[in-house]
């Protein structure tokens, strides 16, 4: 399954070998000092650098005037839109500002990671290489979101941040009391069981975060590859538009869930 070729059946019923390899594992591109860089990691770094440059070129508060003009309006609208959205969820201006960097970065990084896989050439421009005695096609660009390493890393960061902010807001004891409830106290054994379930839930968050994002983006890439090999013109266009939308939605879901979990973790036990 890992590196299997895809067989397609067209209407004749004869198996047609499409010359494409869709691997759920990111392919290694090159290695630096024994460290193998995959195409997904490569694109993640490229997206980060391009994104940073774009942000640094456009967001320049030192040069901004009190009365916004031109591009400053757009930048301010984006910032204020994101911030007021977070304020709506947290119902707290200070918390919104506290969570802003993490959530905004997740949103932007996931969004552009998702969309980077839709660029022309992603998955199609590559090199043929002999690998384990087999001829392999290795695309140079692969959406970082279509690699479990990226989605798992991001989920871990998100979930650990949730724990961190939870402890920061409630203290270690207060936060731990969400998960460890003594069986001889208020809701008794039920409370204890629910607490432990919540602890398991925190771990499950990592899985659901990472597989949701990976699954959606990877499935989209498979779908587009298949559509392109079946009918190369026009027909894949609606699917491409749909994948743009899916990329936006997944970025929104990832960041939205992160801020919701952050809010839940920092709320006191009685409040939720």
């Amino acid at each position: 399954m890992a590196n299997g070729s895809l067989f397609l059946f067209v209407q004749t019923g004869e198996p047609v070998f499409a010359d494409m390899e869709i691997s759920i594992i990111a392919e290694p591109l090159f290695s630096i000092a024994g460290f193998t860089v995959t195409n997904s990691l490569f694109l993640a770094v490229v997206v980060s650098i391009l994104g940073l440059s774009a942000v640094f070129l456009s967001v320049r508060p030192k040069r901004f005037t009190s009365v916004p003009k031109g591009a400053q309006n757009v930048i301010e609208a984006i910032f204020e839109g994101l911030l007021s959205f977070m304020e709506n969820i947290t119902q707290d201006h200070k918390q919104a500002i506290q969570f802003f960097p993490l959530v905004a970065t997740i949103f932007l990084f996931v969004l552009f990671s998702n969309w980077s896989g839709l660029l022309p050439g992603a998955g199609t421009i590559g090199i043929h290489e002999m690998h384990d005695g087999k001829a392999m096609f290795i695309p140079i660009m692969r959406s970082p979101s279509a690699d479990l390493n990226m989605t798992v890393a991001l989920s871990l960061i998100s979930v650990f941040s949730v724990q961190f902010f939870g402890i920061l807001a409630l203290g270690l004891r207060g936060y731990a009391s969400k998960f460890f409830v003594a069986p001889w106290k208020a809701p008794y054994v039920v409370g204890t069981a629910v607490g432990l379930l919540e602890l398991v839930g925190e771990g499950a968050k990592v899985l659901s975060f990472s597989f949701r994002l990976f699954g959606n983006v990877f499935a989209g890439e498979v779908l587009l590859t298949v559509m392109l090999s079946l009918v190369p013109y026009l027909v894949p266009l609606p699917f491409l538009i749909m994948e743009l939308f899916v990329g936006l939605v997944q970025a929104g879901i990832f960041s939205l869930l992160t801020i919701v979990f952050l809010k839940m973790a920092t709320a006191t036990h009685e409040a939720h």
Partner: protein, 163 residues
Amino acid sequence: MEILKQIGIDGKLLLAQGVNFLVLLFLLHRFAYKPMLEFLEKRSAKIEEGLKNAEEATKRLDDATRNEEKILSDAREEARKIVNETRESSEKRGRELVAEFEKKAGQIVEEARERATEEREKLFREAKEEIADLVIATTEKVIRERLDSGNDRQVVSRFLADK
């Protein structure tokens, strides 16, 4: 662990992706989010202050207008009061003066009448005496020839007193 390898999870790559994201987060936070949020915060504080100032100014203006109206109406009231007082006192004074003059005029008339009466009586008295003298003289002249000069004067006086 075999399953992790099969789905492509690799410790080093995982770490690399995580580091990539954290560096991105740090740089964005340090050079974009923080200054930008501070900028926006500062400006909204400024706008809020400006609005508050404007509100206060409006309130003060209202107060001033109200004050002005109050002062004006007070002044009008005062003026009316002064005018009324003046009119009243002048009317009173006028009445007093008229009464005084009337009284004085009455006195003068009274005096004049008294004097006239006196004068008349005096004249009357003098005339009486003169007439008496004249009558006596005349009567004397007339009767001298016939009467004794002892009784005639008494007789004439009696005539005059009887009238």
